[in-house]
Symmetry: D2
Subunit: 349 residues, 4 copies
């Protein structure tokens, strides 16, 4: 590593400071400038991170700082304009999830990245999480057998947004995990929910997906739950796995429980016990901070011309799926399909 990659940050509200801290701490990058509309936030950043060289309330000032890349952690409705502007000024871009709030803008960003040969990466941080990598390994190795269904819960008494609903806020994580685990896009999507607090902004949503090979997936998303809950349950024909992100040590538990189809006896007392229990194992994994892995991957892609795992196209797919889910949510949960080439949503009937 000869020269440090010069990084600028746009947005330092909720998530931006975590990105800033990482690019300061990683040896082969330096955090050159930070932009935010709010002077107070900028002052707080300067105070906390003396390594920051410049701050500005106009992100376009960053274009004068001889940067290689920017990280964008602004509200999602601004992602398209800022990311486009940055790529057109020759910068590689790491943008927070969701990539945009609609598929057309996401498609355009993918095209712009290609035209300008810039790295466009989306902050789907769970694709860099050791636990998720282990889940994928459990699926791909066949250890779980055929996958029957995957159940996600992401709920807490949460941060509310006023421009995007709970799907756009929380489900990008689960959808990116789901696509990463299965390596497929969903055939159909349906979503039901309710806007309890803010009229028109759903804060609770239940979304169902069907995938090829008769795999079912379901995501429960809620900003309105008394208990924090971040879990993924994968049920396979051989084993079952629960990933609980809130467990301090034993995040992944593998259940050697199977189900056997047995004949029922023909009595009034009619139940057929047709499962078997087995051991539970919680393997030990050494965890790195997932965000650190994500940031290092971004730098690696810039230095070595690699395509990011969570590249623009990946980000586009997640946005397309969100758009379809949101359409279903607004239409009484009707099952829809997304044409991933044309961004068209059609009823799945």
């Amino acid at each position: 590593m000869s020269k440090k990659i010069r990084v600028g940050a746009i947005g330092c509200g909720y998530w931006g400071p975590n990105l800033i801290r990482n690019f300061i701490e990683i040896p082969n990058s330096e955090l050159v400038g930070v932009a935010d509309l709010d002077q107070k936030l900028l002052a707080r950043m300067e105070d906390r991170f003396p390594q920051i060289q410049n701050t500005t309330t106009n992100y376009r000032d960053l274009f004068e700082m001889d940067l290689d890349a920017v990280i964008i952690a602004t509200p999602p409705q601004t992602h398209y304009t800022i990311a486009k502007d940055c790529m057109e000024h020759g910068l590689h871009v790491l943008v927070e999830k969701p990539l945009t709030l609609n598929s057309d803008e996401a498609s355009k960003l993918v095209k712009i990245a290609e035209e300008h040969k810039r790295v466009l990466m989306v902050g789907h941080v769970f694709e860099y999480n050791t636990a998720v990598l282990e889940l994928k390994q459990l699926i791909d190795s066949g250890e779980l057998g055929d996958i029957y269904y995957i159940d996600f819960i992401r709920a807490s008494l949460g941060l509310f947004q006023t421009k995007a609903n709970v799907l756009w806020d929380l489900a990008p994580h689960d959808i990116s995990i789901l696509r990463f685990l299965l390596g497929e896009d969903p055939l159909t999507i349906s979503s039901t929910g309710m806007s309890c607090i803010n009229n028109g902004i759903e804060d609770v949503a239940y979304t169902t997906f069907t995938f090829p090979n008769r795999i079912l997936a379901h995501i429960r998303s809620s900003w309105l739950d008394p208990n924090k809950n971040r879990s993924v349950t994968i049920v396979g024909s051989k084993k079952m796995v629960v990933y609980d992100d809130l467990e301090p040590l034993e995040k992944i538990k593998i259940y050697d429980k199977g189900v056997e189809v047995i004949r029922r006896t023909d009595t009034y007392g009619d139940f057929s016990f047709s499962y078997h229990y087995g051991d539970m194992t919680a393997p030990y994994y050494r965890f790195e901070e997932p965000l650190r892995e994500e940031c290092k991957h971004f730098l690696d892609c810039i230095e070595n011309g690699k395509q990011p795992r969570s590249d623009g196209k990946n980000g586009l797919r997640v946005v397309q799926i969100l758009e379809a889910a949101d359409y279903s949510l607004k239409n009484k949960g009707i099952a829809v399909s997304m044409n991933f080439e044309t961004n068209e949503i059609t009823s799945a009937f």
Copy 2:
């Protein structure tokens, strides 16, 4: 109490023995006869409960035993025929949930009960559970504020049935709780799921309901989950409640957490923290066995000519809702409405 109520039991497979034990232990009833197709089960019952006076493999033999009432714990597809037969022979009937496997049969049973002036009660045992009564009290007293949504989970590595899917097996409990808590029938119902093990018999289902006053409800039903889970979460505008049936002591936890709508600040860093935390309380309740309460209620209705809390009409409503949910499940989760007078299901669009 002068004379003991003479009770017969039909079906002593999985659940029947619990009913039998209760009617033996309750002072003002006696368990006169037990019928089951399986001789071995009958022998086991005689061995375990010497108080049983007669056993038979033909339930119609019970009609010769001068009974007042029967309890029916046979497979659901047989409920209609047996319950009808018993009422027509002048017996009061307590039948296990679900009342029947279709609305037409359930409607007929309700009519037969009226015509013969017999008590027809369905074993919706959770309506006799102290915890559920307390939840209703919390809602009705206004302590929770406006109800936003109710989330049910009923999952385990479970008992499989081969004639009825997971909805018909597990969801009757949740639907009866839901109707009991809200005192309303749902406006729309949609359900998605998958048959993983038995082709055609869904073992996993996700069902959404809308109720009057913009209340949302969701039931997750699964026979295929590594962990047993029986919980109800009620989110209100003032407080939130979680009822976890598997907790040995602190089954109900009340969270004094609310959400306040606050103005967002207009920066790149865009989240509005708009909730407040508060105390959590787990009130102490003295629990009676819910099934004991249910059985005592049945006897009370017989003795004093009362209408059961979970009467035939209640059981019919649950069957109607299940039928609508099942229809949606078979039709890609389309939102449907049930006409509770005519048993007609219509698309909710």
Copy 3:
């Protein structure tokens, strides 16, 4: 098995009914008679178990019932007199723990059993518990490595006794498990505690044991704890195990964590991280009711002339250890040794 073993029960207050139920349900025994001073308890037993043939308020009436054996579940201060009387009348005896409330009486019972060639067995039910058998297997197989220490907690908001303190009530279980696991008697014993509620009857006690091979053990016993807790932690040089009796399924968790002695670095920042983490496994065991296993073992010993696992001598040892612990408890926790031949307690200094 030709003839059923004829069993009588003395005492049907708290624990007696569980024994009665088991001897009724096990095919090769019959429950002939029940004695208790309290008529009401006897009536309740007759009501619940019609299989009981006789009841009496005078336990000596049982001697006229042609019994083979008795089970004694009376208050511990009465064990000696009743057990002696029964053995002298030719009956085999299963007596609840603790065998007696002092070593001299326990020694005499052992001698009487030998003289009359009767089975004398103590209800150390945990020695018949699948989980404890698995713990022993883990130790004996060497899987845990050298045993460093064993920590017991047995606490709850409990049943209080007025003749015996918490040591005599709760610790017999832990001491019998400890002796069973290690196959050794303790070298020294010390115990500290307090009588919070009843003057003179300790309701909280902390007891430490040293065993050969520098193994430490500690038992926390409490009738006064807001949470129920029943756990055993075994720390070995290779692995660690936690047995939590209150877990419904995963009662035993094996931690593949070890400790390596490493050299410390010599800086102001002085800590040496010298452990390694590893997988956790919760093996699946099929559990039988431990009390059922205990009762079957008692019958097996009678039929086949076997020595019980928890025989009189075993019960004597537990009483001797309790006596020593109680002496320490009354003497500011001084470490003492018990001479198991002479019942003499000496200071361990």
Copy 4:
């Protein structure tokens, strides 16, 4: 606040960086210099905290930096020499726990602080923890009733030290909490334990205390436990409290359970149910970082000439109690008393 308090740090291994971070972030202090024997640790500090103005491998260089105060986070065996030196050079001192590894040195430091009129404060961080302050409030207000006993567990698979045993490493926290809660010193102390890994350095210890008013306390300290555990249970005559430091939100749970002394009935079935259950409440507290509160308190004492809550005398008492406990530990758990004036340990018999 006019002038910032100039702070130096000695030791930046395990805990030092946390103190450094706080004195950097608190507005009215600045972190002028850091000393450590290890150049690599110093380089890491400079990298992480560019706000640090000077570093040195010789702590006496700090005396040339016009400091007001130092924070000492070196191994405990060095505390005495360094703290003495610093106070004699006119600096206020915040030293990590334990103050020293023997009472005589601790006594001398207290005297030196008085003579030089310097603030001498010990890092008993739990005395600045919101949860502990709430526990004290619960005791002092009488809400718990009379205190019966307090049970501490502090266990994990831990950091090992080679100069001081687990008592000196972990128990200072619990002893400082205990003294803070009860406002008393213990009458007697006894401790038993074992050195499992390092010969001569106990890694497991069980320590019992008696306090005035017949209050019992017990501390379980372990570096060798598969599960991390940090809990305090306080049992009073009216209520019981559990403080679980590892719970993310509901750290304190108050149990409205009491015990009533009732007369026993005189039957063979002998148990007296003499407790009552009640509600459990987990009050919501807003938590500040306890270390931040501690650091601010230190600065406040310097600026305003206040005596610290955890002053030198407090630190001395904790060391005296540790010394007595360690004496007992080395002498088979004999109960001892400490003469807090003369540092003399006597047998409690």
